[in-house]
């Protein structure tokens, strides 16, 4: 049995006094409080871990979404040559053409719902905090954020097409709307879709009759055979009066008795033109002249003066007219020929030569703007590489540096435009005293294009002839003055990969929680989305760039979207039909503005109901970085497949 009087540490000395009372006393309240504090800290720490787990899973979800959204954007971007971006428009002078409704640039194309993205209003974006203030710095440098559209183009319809959202199923608001995207890094100087004042390439089928713009180019470039050409296109008494605008009259039975005679005269005139333009290439036969086929290509290098490699545009046009006239003589709609019909072999030989030369012309020199590119077989060489000359001396002020001393009295916000049937000379752009101060950049290519004529477009473009604002005036001189220094052309120069690298960055944030997420009007769209110049005149496109969110704009009652209201809409979709024909007046009406500028907010989640989030507009939110994607930012229009 253990001696209860002995204890460790005292060497068994029983005389040492015992201290049982102090050693066994209960835990004090203070000690309990400390223990509870320790327990509380441990529990709190444990509790804090659980949201981390949830956030990790949410982050994983967002990373999945970000990856697929990036895939979709790149898919759309890499097939941008198979989209209707309305890139090829033309105007009279450089500074008139805004030109970039949907440019080549990836960042600018994010502002287009065809990419599945819509612009987040700056007022919302500026309430976001992020690591290193990355979003704030991006916005401060002029950038913007984009959010996924609630109406993705699920049926292949480019939902940017008319901005109607047609093609979207929209059955469930996409959770991807919790993501916002931005493109970081310095933008490239991209290739131009075409010259701003000449929507080249013009294209046509071969064979074709003479087109008015071709006649204008012929005269402006003083090509040989002008007299013979006018003998074809000019109306009696000087010529046959045949052109691409009226050829159908011959075969539509308007004047059957005279059809054959006119067709025969056209053939004779076309042969005369060919004789004037390419006398050495014609072989006389009993049926008529037959043009020689192109010879095989010589060994390179090819001399610019070698007309077998680089045929002159007048030859291409003359052959196309000759082939057209030859074929027309065989039309079943004409009276029977008085003599023997043209043999099939002859017709075939003439048309074959025209096609072969046209094909060679289009393939060998993209910088010859004289003859149209053949639609019979379009090639990559149809589109010349052009860019703006952004270097010193590259600026141009073709619109007059100073405003007129007595500017025209405005109609609404815009200077007056010609009445629907007025001649172009009455338009303000025909007024030498009227200046806008607009400035443009000159254009450069690998070499300066040759053989160009003038723009063939029309201001406003769409509508009946009486309603159009008029053909673009002769801008050949403006084209002459538009060229910069070709030595600065750099689209074809070697480059380091790093020069083309940019980042697509994605953050997650529930921006829809703000109370005004759907009542906030959209930011004003970039004026370059609209094909109107600074005076409000429409340049040669039927399209006016609507705001990317336009399909989701609320109506006055915020109970429906304007785009879904079929009755009582103040202004119908403004691109077409009656409104389009009166577009110059429709721009500046209260009805237009309240409907198509998003005055009443935007149904940004696409559910058709006005949602008000719990967060006041004064609150800030933190955006969490989800993913960063490095991508190659190409500078030219290109496609990844047929």
């Amino acid at each position: 049995m253990m001696d209860s009087t002995r204890s460790f540490g005292h060497g068994g000395d029983t005389n040492v006094p015992r201290m049982p009372a102090q050693g066994r006393r209960a835990t004090t309240l203070f000690e309990v409080a400390v223990s509870l504090l320790v327990l509380a800290i441990a529990v709190t720490a444990a509790l804090a871990i659980f949201p981390v787990g949830i956030r990790a899973q949410q982050q994983a979800r967002f990373q999945l979404y970000a990856g697929t959204m990036a895939t979709q954007m790149i898919d759309a971007w890499t097939q941008s040559d198979h989209s209707f971006w309305r890139q090829q428009i033309e105007s009279e002078r450089l500074a008139q053409n805004t030109f970039v409704n949907a440019p080549v640039d990836f960042e600018r194309m994010l502002d287009h719902s065809g990419m599945g993205m819509l612009p987040l209003p700056g007022a919302l974006a500026r309430r976001l905090d992020s690591d290193g203030d990355e979003i704030a710095r991006h916005l401060g440098e002029g950038g913007s954020l984009s959010y996924p559209t609630p109406l993705p183009a699920e049926i292949g319809m480019d939902s940017g097409y008319h901005n109607t959202g047609v093609g979207s199923v929209g059955d469930v608001p996409p959770e991807t709307q919790k993501l916002v995207f931005a493109v970081l890094g310095y933008a490239q100087q991209n290739a131009l879709p075409s010259h701003p004042c000449l929507g080249w390439p013009y294209q046509d089928f071969v064979p074709s009759p003479p087109q008015p713009w071709e006649v204008a180019s012929w005269d402006l470039n003083a090509w040989p055979g002008a007299t013979e050409l006018h003998a074809i296109v000019d109306a009696a008494p000087g010529g046959v009066g045949v052109s691409g605008e009226n050829l159908h009259l011959l075969v539509d039975g308007v004047d059957p008795a005279g059809d054959r005679a006119v067709a025969d005269a056209y053939l004779l005139a076309a042969r005369a033109l060919a004789q004037a333009v390419l006398p050495g290439d014609l072989s006389a036969t009993i049926d008529g002249p037959i043009p020689a086929m192109p010879p095989p290509f010589p060994s390179p290098p090819w001399l610019a003066s070698d007309s077998a490699v680089f045929p002159p545009p007048a030859k291409i046009l003359a052959l196309s007219y000759l082939a057209n006239a030859t074929l027309l003589a065989t039309s079943a709609r004409l009276d029977p020929p008085t003599g023997a019909p043209l043999p099939d072999a002859y017709v075939r030989a003439v048309v074959d030569a025209a096609l072969a030369w046209s094909d060679r012309y289009a393939a060998t020199d993209p910088y010859d703007f004289g003859a149209p590119r053949p639609l019979n077989r379009q090639t990559c060489h149809d589109f010349p590489l052009l860019q703006f000359d952004l270097f010193p001396g590259g600026r141009q002020n073709p619109m007059g540096m100073l405003a007129a001393a007595t500017p025209p009295a405005p109609v609404g916000r815009f200077p007056p435009l010609p009445a629907p049937s007025a001649l172009i000379a009455d338009a303000p752009y025909g007024d030498a005293t009227y200046g806008t101060g607009d400035v443009g950049w000159r254009v450069i290519g690998e070499r300066q294009p040759t053989s160009y004529g003038r723009a063939r477009g029309e201001y406003g473009w769409l509508g009946s002839a009486d309603n159009r604002a008029g053909t673009i005036p002769d801008n050949h001189a403006a084209l002459d003055a538009s060229w910069g220094v070709s030595a600065r052309f750099n689209l074809c120069r070697p480059f380091a990969a790093a020069e083309r690298m940019r980042e697509l960055v994605c953050w997650s944030v529930e921006w829809r929680a703000w109370e005004d997420a759907e009542t906030l009007p959209p930011d004003a769209p970039d004026s370059t989305r609209h094909f109107i110049d600074s005076r409000g005149a429409a340049v040669s496109s039927e399209y006016r760039g609507l705001h990317p969110e336009a399909a989701l704009f609320w109506n006055e009652a915020r109970g429906a979207r304007w785009s879904e209201v079929t009755d009582g809409t103040p202004v119908e979709w403004p691109d077409y039909d009656d409104v389009a024909n009166e577009r110059r007046w429709a721009y500046d009406t209260p009805e237009y503005r309240r409907q198509w500028m998003g005055w009443y907010g935007v149904d940004r989640d696409g559910d058709g109901e006005l949602d008000r989030g719990p967060l006041p507009a004064s609150a800030r939110m933190r955006a969490t970085l989800v993913s960063r994607f490095v991508f190659y930012d190409r500078r030219v229009i290109a496609g990844s497949r047929n």
Binding site: P152, V169, Q378
Partner: protein, 338 residues
Amino acid sequence: MHRTQASRRRGYTLVELLVSVSIGLAVCATAFAVIRIASQSLTAVERLSIENGLMRAAIHAGFDEVDTWEALDPRDGSGPLRAAGQPFAAFDWTAEGLAHDMAQHHPAGLWRGCGATHDQRKYGSYHVVANRADPDPDKRWYGQLLQRVGDSLGYYALTDYAPGNTIYSYMDAYGDVPDEFKDSGYGADHFYAPTRDIGPRDIHRLTEAGGFCISRLFPSVSQHHFSFWDNWGAGFGALVTTDPADPRWDYAGIHGRSAQPLALLPLRPSHWPEPTVVVRRFVANYRHWATVTIHVTSPLSGERMKLFFSSLGTTLRGARAMRTTPGGATLDVGLALP
């Protein structure tokens, strides 16, 4: 008696007891709350993890199908799209001189018709220049390509195989454009939508507000044109069906008929969310599309999540190159890969 010792051994006071009980209750309540929150959090994390896993699996399945076309046409050749007229039928490119590589610079690729109208005799006898029965192989190639590929593999396949700059029209030996390749009416065997005669067109104009698709569930779509808008009849932008008596060939029709659902996790636990993955392939509005639509529906809450994206993927020509006939022969006889 040692009263001092006695007083040191006294019991807890009522206050101490109450305090102790209160503290104990607080500890228990806290512990309960912690356990409950932990349990809920774990449940949420687990649910999110399962949903993420399902979403990840669905995305991978979608990408996989976009690349392999396996669900649309199993490689063992058992699918219905191997039948004649369907996009995975075997095709002999050596017949009738179609065997060149279809490079865009080949002389045969030069279209030789009248672009102004489908009436190829109105402005002259264009069939004299080239036609479907022309003695020159390069001048009959166009007609052979359009007619034979369209008939043998369907319209989607035709847009996939034909060069990007193809004009989809050809003449027979008499100068007539077959009804199949002009705006001639509704129904099967019409490559063009029924609009006004605006002449031969390329893929851009043909698929503006319309298109073609591939379907395993509805193989009959192979020779049909879906039209979303009537550009010239009811007015540009008017959403119409191409055939009032048969609205299948419209905007909603291509969405429904191009859907290829994928079987994902058929044996999943019943309390797991139900994922559906649908891959669609069509050419519409100027380009070829491969899209993936994913829905995940919770069986407990009914909540639906949706993810839609389009993606680059293998072309039909590439998918056919991956496959062989049951006898081991290639599907494209005599056609080299580009």
